[in-house]
């Protein structure tokens, strides 16, 4: 017997036929991809992809590989959390990779030590000003401030001049990269203080990524901010008519995306113990790809951080899987491109089917 509870107005409503959450499909895809690599690994190399097959090492899984998978996606994943919110409101952010570059350079130059092996730090930017050996809070706040300003410029341009997000953030992408190069005339900035270097060591990037993902998943689900993100992406005109301050909201969304990009920059420069002007190149596209693979509709209005996290894991599994199968890095790029296009095609197809049912 179909168990059905009475809906509002007495219409029968079968709770079991509730919409199947999209996140489950993506989880399924993740499992299938892992299984595919597992099978290919056993067939081609005689090795297991994720299971622990080494003698004398406890544990069911190959923990080392699991760590690598999640560690290598966590920094771009932090960016993807912001990008997800931007896409849900119906926008796009192409500037996050360049914001990573500019923020890393600027934050790092406030995180340098005075002495390296007893000699004055050869790479110190602000040695003359005496801005060396500063407490860790200074570079962190400076870094977050960079992201905030970049996001504020992006958001204001989009909200108040009415130019498409694609153009506004494309401009920021080019300009922020220029700033990153100009900052130290192209030289890398190195030798951070111990406390700054501690931020990105070990599995810290993963913890930061997971904490931010949980925080923003809760914010998107339970707060007014989240509700308005979906409303604006779903029907901007309706959002405006019902009194949502669409412009202010957009500025806030891009500011959050900018700040998250700068968090990624701080973690990355700390992890690498150096900042370079070319840091974060193409990260914006990887972040968008994670969101799209995670089921965030480019049309806006749909998606969740959980989806993006799953998208990031799929991304990480594919990269690790290719390395595991000893395939060339060039193939990785090509397959990555195909997967992004495939995810968008799938999204289009889902949308068409949805509008046919409606």
């Amino acid at each position: 017997m179909a168990k059905s509870e009475a809906g509002v107005g007495g219409l029968k409503y079968d709770a079991r036929r509730r919409a199947w959450p999209n996140e489950l499909n993506i989880l399924l895809a993740l499992i299938l991809i892992v299984a595919a690599f597992e099978i290919l690994g056993r067939l081609l190399l005689g090795e297991s992809f994720l299971l622990n097959t080494r003698e004398g090492v406890p544990g069911l899984f190959n923990e080392q590989r699991l760590q690598i998978i999640i560690l290598q996606v966590s920094i771009v994943g932090i960016i993807a959390i912001g990008v997800t919110q931007v896409i849900i409101t119906g926008g796009i952010d192409l500037s996050s990779g360049s914001i990573v570059g500019a923020t890393a350079m600027i934050a790092m130059s406030f995180a340098q030590v005075a002495l390296v092996n007893g000699n004055p730090n050869p790479k110190a930017i602000f040695m003359a000003e005496g801005w060396v050996d500063l407490p860790v809070i200074v570079p962190v706040l400076v870094g977050l401030g960079c992201g905030l300003v970049a996001g504020l410029i992006n958001g204001s341009l989009i909200a108040y001049t009415g130019i498409p997000p694609f153009i506004a953030t494309l401009g920021m992408m080019v300009a922020a990269r220029g700033l990153a190069r100009w900052w130290s005339k192209g030289n890398p900035i190195s030798f951070p203080t111990e406390s700054y270097a501690a931020i990105g060591q070990g599995m810290n990037p993963v913890f930061i990524f997971v904490a931010l993902a949980i925080l923003f998943q809760l914010i998107l689900t339970y707060t007014k901010y989240g509700k308005h993100c979906y409303a604006i992406g779903s029907n901007e005109e309706a959002a405006r008519i019902t009194g949502i301050k669409v412009e202010n909201h957009k500025v806030l969304v891009y500011v959050i995306a900018g700040i998250l990009a700068s968090v990624a920059a701080i973690v990355l420069s700390s992890k690498n113990l150096t900042a370079q002007a070319g840091m974060g190149v193409m990260y914006e596209l990887d972040a968008i790809a994670m969101a799209v693979i995670g089921g965030i509709s480019l049309a806006g209005g749909r998606g969740s951080i959980i989806g993006t996290v799953l998208g990031a894991l799929i991304f990480g599994v594919i990269i690790s899987g290719f390395t595991f199968l000893k395939l060339d890095a060039y193939y990785q790029e090509m397959v990555k491109g195909a997967i992004i296009v495939g995810a968008v095609v799938l999204d289009q197809w889902r949308q068409r089917r949805r509008s046919m049912r409606a």
Partner: protein, 256 residues
């Protein structure tokens, strides 16, 4: 004169060179239901957009409850007590029913500015109550608007206006896309509004509906008010004649 709810004087809207609305003088009294009729592009929706704050008029005055008002946004109009059901319904397809009902004025559990925590249960309960009041049948409150029929969507939009206390309700072609049964349901809601003594402006192309529901008919033609007719003193033929321009009212066409 204190029973005048809404009055416009010389309300005018230009879009670039296009005069969408020209010198509209309009009055609505307490408890009165008025229909606005007219051909496509006659200025009906433009008129509504001016008095609901969606657009800002090029010229002219709007007096609401005896005070001159300039609504800078739909929110201001709404806060003043004007509730509107728009032609495009102003619903967010990807949100569920409670979210749409409370869009832009969510119930809050903890106030944290933009990051305020929503009172989801409170909104769901209030939605259930509002839908029961309007006898609207929605099988599942948690499903998104996208999955609903035109009638259900319309009913959600109307329930939204009925949920919040208002001093004036405006409906822009509320039954345009509806079937027979759904139209009857919406008309019943409008009758309930009439019984409650709440004033209403109804934009409609449906002559039978207009004669069934309202007290007065205002005809728009080419951006101007072409006629202002009491229902009891006019006929369908006369209204059609004004809509098509076969007949004109000399007292109103002075500016023409």
């Amino acid at each position: 004169m204190s029973d005048i709810i809404l009055k416009t004087e010389g309300l005018t809207k230009h879009y670039g060179g296009v005069q969408a609305l020209e010198g509209a003088n309009f009055e609505l009294r307490k408890g009165e239901h008025v229909a606005i009729m007219g051909d496509n592009g006659a200025g009906k929706s433009t008129f509504v957009r001016q008095i609901t704050g969606v657009e800002i008029p090029s010229r002219g005055k709007i007096l609401f409850l005896g005070k001159e008002v300039i609504f800078q946004s739909p929110l201001e109009a709404r806060e003043a007590g004007i509730e509107a059901v728009f032609q495009n319904l102003a619903l967010a397809d990807d949100l569920d029913v409670p979210s749409n009902l409370f869009l832009g004025r969510e119930k809050i559990r903890f106030n944290l500015g933009p990051f305020s925590i929503l009172d989801r249960k409170g909104m769901r309960d209030a939605t259930r109550k509002a839908l029961e009041k309007t006898a609207v049948k929605i099988p599942n409150l948690n499903s998104t608007i996208r999955h609903m029929s035109g009638g259900q969507r319309q009913c959600v939009a109307i329930a939204r206006t009925a949920t919040f206390p208002s001093k004036l309700i405006i409906m822009d072609e509320p039954t345009a896309a509806l079937g027979v049964a759904e139209t009857a349901q919406v008309e019943n809601i409008i009758r309930t509004i009439k019984q409650n003594g709440e004033p209403l402006i109804l934009i409609s192309h449906n002559m039978r509906q207009v004669f069934d529901l309202v007290d007065r008919i205002v005809v728009f033609r080419r951006g101007r008010i072409a006629a202002n007719l009491k229902k009891s003193e006019t006929s369908g033929e006369e209204v059609v004649a004004y809509i098509t321009g076969a007949k004109t009212d000399p007292s109103l066409s002075d500016a023409a």
